[in-house]
């Protein structure tokens, strides 16, 4: 290359040899791969828990004791409750369990002849609310007015456990990403120190010629950033097919459909926030590389006058 065309990022310190383009990108690629899996796992668990939580929160079980007894309007109590459920704006659907359904439910406790017992069994309704956050108290009041003594069972304890489970999974994923970031920081720091040791003489020479800490640290940080970015892009390229494969495996749990998906539909399976988080990984890796290299070199240079 003619001397007049000297590149602006000329390698005055010989960092291309001191900071190898093999080991550091490989380690960063591995870290990125692990971080991508952690993020995908957290996203999937959170989505799954959200679906379960949403479904359970919207489900109610309504029991009407003495269902055949007359209600205030003269009709049976069960009929009065079914009318009240149909009239409620909060209810999406309500299904009365048949005698066969109730017999199946009670079979583990009462055997096959439950319906033949002299005890009057309550009428049972499976109710799905339009919105999990619907005003269930208003429904309680309406049902009690229709048939006093009607019981409404919610899934509160289950919801609480699912919420805790989702939060725990997210916390574990965040911890995994934090550990990966810490390990990446340590690896970059060690690589930078190795580069400093390998170029000690060159650094002392340019320092003696008037190079500032900013210039020397900038040279190291620039090289490390390029290597970290390259490594993270490689790691991401490897991680995305794996994440899509896991999405294919978990599809039946997510959509209750086991039908095989096309690659194009798999891409849309991953939620937008997860795509955004995956896209941020190379940016984060570059930032970790740049910041760690800057700090390590400046700390090292502080020993020089």
């Amino acid at each position: 290359m003619p001397r007049s065309l000297r590149p602006p990022r000329a390698d005055d310190l010989g960092l291309r040899r001191a900071l190898s383009d093999r080991l550091l990108p490989l380690v960063v690629a591995s870290m990125t791969f692990l971080a991508a899996l952690a993020l995908a796992g957290a996203g999937a668990a959170s989505g799954l828990a959200g679906r379960w939580r949403g479904g359970a929160a919207a489900l109610l079980t309504v029991q009407v004791p003495n269902p055949t007894a007359p209600a205030a309007d003269g009709a049976s109590r069960a009929f009065a409750v079914s009318q009240a459920l149909a009239a409620s704006p909060a209810v999406a659907s309500a299904r009365a369990l048949t005698a066969g359904d109730i017999s199946t439910l009670l079979k583990p406790w009462l055997g096959t002849d439950a319906v033949a017992l002299s005890v009057t069994l309550p009428a049972v309704f499976d109710v799905r609310l339009k919105d999990a956050a619907a005003d269930a108290n208003a429904l309680d009041t309406a049902l009690s007015r229709a048939a006093p003594g009607t019981l409404v069972e919610r899934n509160g304890p289950w919801l609480e456990r699912l919420t805790v489970l989702a939060a725990s999974l997210k916390a574990c994923a965040a911890l995994a990403v934090a550990v990966v970031a810490l390990v990446a920081t340590a690896v970059v720091s060690v690589a930078t120190r190795a580069g400093l040791a390998g170029r000690r003489d060159a650094i002392e020479i340019v320092h003696g010629l008037g190079a500032t800490d900013r210039l020397i640290a900038g040279k190291f940080a620039g090289r490390i950033t390029i290597l970290a970015l390259a490594g993270s892009l490689i790691g991401l390229a490897v991680a995305i097919p794996v994440v899509l494969g896991l999405a294919q495996l978990s599809a039946p749990f997510q959509t209750m459909s086991a039908a095989p998906r096309t690659p194009a539909s798999l891409l849309s399976t991953l939620p937008t926030p997860l795509w955004a988080a995956l896209a941020a990984l190379p940016v984060a890796a570059s930032f970790i590389g740049w910041g760690t290299a800057q700090a390590t070199v400046r700390l090292w240079l502080a020993r020089l006058p």
């Binding site: 007049s4 005055d12 010989g14 060159a202 340019v206 003696g208 008037g210 190079a211």
Partner: protein
Amino acid sequence: MVRLDGVGLRYGRADAPAVLRDLNFAIPAGGFRWLLGPSGAGKTSLLRLLTLAVRPTAGRLELLGAAIETAGRRDLPPLRRRIGMIFQDFRLLPHLSAFDNVALPLRLAGRPEGQVRADVEEMLRFVSLTRRGDARPAELSGGEQQRVAIARAVIGRPQLLLADEPTGNLDDTQAERLMQLLMELNRIGTTVMVATHSTGLVARYPGRELVLEEGRLVCDGAAPEAS
């Protein structure tokens, strides 16, 4: 320009032996000094002090108008760019060509690349290395490396030029040219200090002498008459 007032220097711990003790002398702007003394007398340590490679551990050092013992780290790089140093062991960057080694001080000072190229080519021509500009130090002889080091030290027109045995690897002709260059730079206002063991060189270019022995200044003046 250069003023030392009770300057001392130790390497490492506070109880380590002093390599320089109670130095007191001054060199005005445009002055010339020979730095003489036996091996181990402290000449190289004094040059390291004056190139700001170390700071004094005692006394006051004033350099190019700045009090070094109190100056912040950020104040030193601009001062270093005003100081040229010719090292005994050349201290060239092995992965850079001769051209890029010579260009380094100008690039660190942020000079435009076009000006860098013109100045470096002129300097390489002066030290007779025009055709060796693309060679790396390992491909150059000891004398050629010395000339690259000289070119790098003077290309930035430093206000203070220090040299440690600068003619040690040069033939008589090149040594003569170097001394004439140093004298010319001194004549136009550069302060020059040259450390040497060569009595012949000192005899050919008489000048004021600083003589060190065991880290102490034992003479600041003309060479003592031989008895």
